[in-house]
């Protein structure tokens, strides 16, 4: 910068010899003679020489302009001089533009209108029931009294609210099919029970299957009507279910749409299930989800992706036993396990029972009585249960099995294992074929839906063509 200025200075002095080389005014004052000589033409010398660059105004700013007293003087002066616009001459409302006034007026009218409409709507909500509504609300009669009107209004409000908070259907499942010989219903949750989703930055979302999930579903599908009851919405849960269970061992998948929303929480309300609640078990990971029927629930810990987990498979013997013994009310059984770890507790009880059974068996063997019927009675075996045990080919009859010292659940397990293996073999042999058939069917259905949609669209756009057709022959005729 210094170099620039030194270069610029010589031309300026040469062009205007009268001006001093130093531009700022204070520098000029020490030379007392010059101001006097330049008195007739003060502008030229008192003004800064802009060829030297713009002089700093810092001094002026710090001293003069921002001085508050100076400002106050400027502000105060116009007041006495003000013409028609002075303060206090007219009321403040005189200075609001007519446009603003109009706007405010319209806004006020709108507020009033919406308030009035709200009142009218509330009154309308309390109107008499129409025929269909009267069937539902039999407790509140029609009539003109204020309390009745209030009750109808609140009931209608409640209807609207429940439309959004209740499950989408009164009966979540179709009526039980008597041909489908599974008296018990098992509801299973999805996330953190059968699968676990995890997210990493590299891979995004990935879903892991819990160890033994396939075995659990395939094996228990012999005994239970499997229902997947999850709080995940349909759009997210459905693809996971299709992938997890392509052969549809899960009979009914129920999603978020089937849950109830209560006090800010999602509740799986089994009373909507359309099944006898004494024969329904629900396995879940969250106690709040089943808080309407905690007595039907088995609460498992969340599975967080541990590949050595055995909790799910460990439940199989217990669930199988419930089916084997044909309990009238599963809630009582679950109650006896309350607060205990079900697999270990069940194993403990089974060990005790087995020891007892062995003791009896030994004594029976010694006595050599024909003790099968007595044994059956001892175990609480009813004739109806015996009929379930009709031997399939390749299976020894129950009496023989008893003679070999097998308990009832052992027989059931052998049967179950055999069926399971048959099932697995079928899947290995025909699984791909079934999947292909199903895919074909869905594709066909999609194509049909697409074509029907297209035809409906074209009908939309060409409505005249069809109406023209009947007229054309007439013209020809």
């Amino acid at each position: 910068m210094a170099d620039d200025r030194s270069q610029k200075v010589p031309p300026s002095t040469s062009s205007n010899p009268q001006s001093t080389p130093k531009a700022p005014q204070p520098a000029q004052s020490p030379k007392g003679v010059e101001p006097e000589t330049s008195a007739p033409k003060p502008d030229l010398n008192s003004l800064p020489d802009l060829t030297q660059g713009i002089p700093s105004t810092l001094e002026y700013e710090t001293s003069g302009a921002t001085d508050k007293s100076a400002l106050a003087a400027i502000e105060e002066t116009p007041e006495p001089q003000a013409g028609g616009r002075g303060r206090g001459e007219l009321p403040a409302s005189a200075y609001v533009s007519s446009r603003d006034k109009q706007r405010a007026k319209i806004a006020n009218r709108l507020y009033l209108l919406s308030f009035g409409l709200g009142i009218v709507f509330l009154g309308y909500l309390g109107r008499d029931w129409d025929e269909e509504e009267a069937k539902v609300h039999t407790d509140i009669p029609n009539g003109w009294s204020l309390s009745l009107w209030w009750k109808r209004m609140t009931a209608r409000f409640g209807d609207v609210k429940s439309y959004y908070s209740e499950p989408a259907f009164d009966k979540l499942l179709p009526d039980p099919d008597p041909m489908f010989e599974r008296p018990y219903t098992l509801c299973i949750s999805l996330e953190d029970l059968l699968v676990h989703s995890e997210w990493t930055r590299e891979h995004g979302w990935r879903v892991a299957k819990r160890p033994g999930v396939d075995y659990f579903l395939h094996y228990l599908s012999q005994y239970y009507e499997l229902v997947l009851f999850t709080s995940v919405p349909y759009a997210i849960g459905e693809p996971i279910v299709r992938k997890l269970d392509p052969f549809r061992f899960i009979m009914w998948p129920l999603f978020r749409e089937a849950t109830k929303y209560k006090d800010g929480e999602i509740v799986k309300d089994l009373s909507y299930l359309n099944r006898d609640l004494s024969k329904v078990i629900i396995i879940d990971t969250k106690a709040e989800h089943v808080r309407n029927q905690p007595e039907n629930a088995i609460i498992l810990k969340k599975w967080t992706g541990d590949p050595k987990d055995k909790e799910l498979v460990a439940l199989v013997p217990f669930l199988e036993y419930i089916h084997t013994m044909q309990y009238k009310d599963v809630r009582e059984v679950l109650k006896s396990f309350e607060g205990k770890h079900i697999p270990t507790e069940f194993a403990r009880r089974e060990a005790i029972a087995r020891a007892e059974f062995q003791k009896r068996y030994e004594s029976e063997k010694r006595k050599r009585k024909s003790g099968i019927g007595a044994l059956g009675n001892m175990l609480g075996l009813k004739p109806s249960n015996m009929s379930l045990m009709v031997p399939v080919d390749g299976e020894i009859s129950p009496s023989e099995a008893f003679a070999q010292g097998k308990m009832l659940q052992d027989i059931a397990r052998e049967r179950g294992q055999r069926n399971y293996e048959m099932m697995e073999q079928q899947i290995r042999e025909n699984g791909e074929k079934w999947l292909k058939e199903e895919q074909m069917a869905t594709e066909k259905m999609q194509a049909e839906a697409m074509s029907s949609m297209k035809s409906s669209f074209t009908n939309w756009f060409l409505p005249t063509k069809q109406s023209e057709n009947p007229t054309e022959p007439k013209k020809e005729a």
Binding site: Y164, A168, S197, H218, F249, P253, E257, G264, Q426, W434
Partner: protein, 154 residues
């Protein structure tokens, strides 16, 4: 678990980017037309391009700030409440509106917050209504063909 969206801290980035893209694309269309219409004949194309270059990124930035801020507040609210429901979005909208208007003073911040919360509440309400409408299609019917489990079992 919603597999269409990343989990919480990361989703802020997604939302910011998505909102920016939305604003930038929308701004391109909006200011493209505006610049075109407001230019004299013969300079309409260059006028449109100039307007887009000057204003679309700004609009994108504004949208992005809104989206990113909203998502940040949403995550914060989720983390504090440990719940997933429509109130998360409404509370986050309240704070977003307030934060964006805070330079206008207390009154502006309050009005912005309330307005934004109401907007978000309307959006959430419409979403719930739609979900309820679509829920009707998930009804389970007794299947005409027996499932494959039956086939295998028989």
């Amino acid at each position: 678990m919603d597999h269409t969206r990343d989990p919480c801290p990361w989703v802020i980035l997604n939302d910011f980017g998505g909102a920016f893209a939305m604003g930038a694309i929308g701004g391109t269309i909006w200011h493209g037309i505006k610049g075109f219409r407001n230019s004299p004949m013969g300079e309409r194309r260059i006028g449109a391009i100039t307007a887009i270059k000057a204003r679309a990124p700004v609009l994108g930035g504004n949208f992005g700030v809104w989206g990113g801020l909203f998502s940040t507040f949403d995550c914060a609210v989720k983390g504090i409440r440990k719940k997933e429901d429509p109130y998360n979005a409404i509370i986050a909208g309240f704070f977003t509106g307030g934060a964006l208007a805070v330079r206008g003073g207390y009154k502006a911040a309050r009005n912005g917050a309330i307005g934004c919360a109401v907007l978000l509440a309307v959006i959430e309400g419409v979403g719930i209504g739609f979900q309820r409408m679509l829920a009707g299609s998930t009804k389970l019917e007794a299947p005409p063909p027996p499932p494959d489990a039956e086939k295998a079992f028989a």
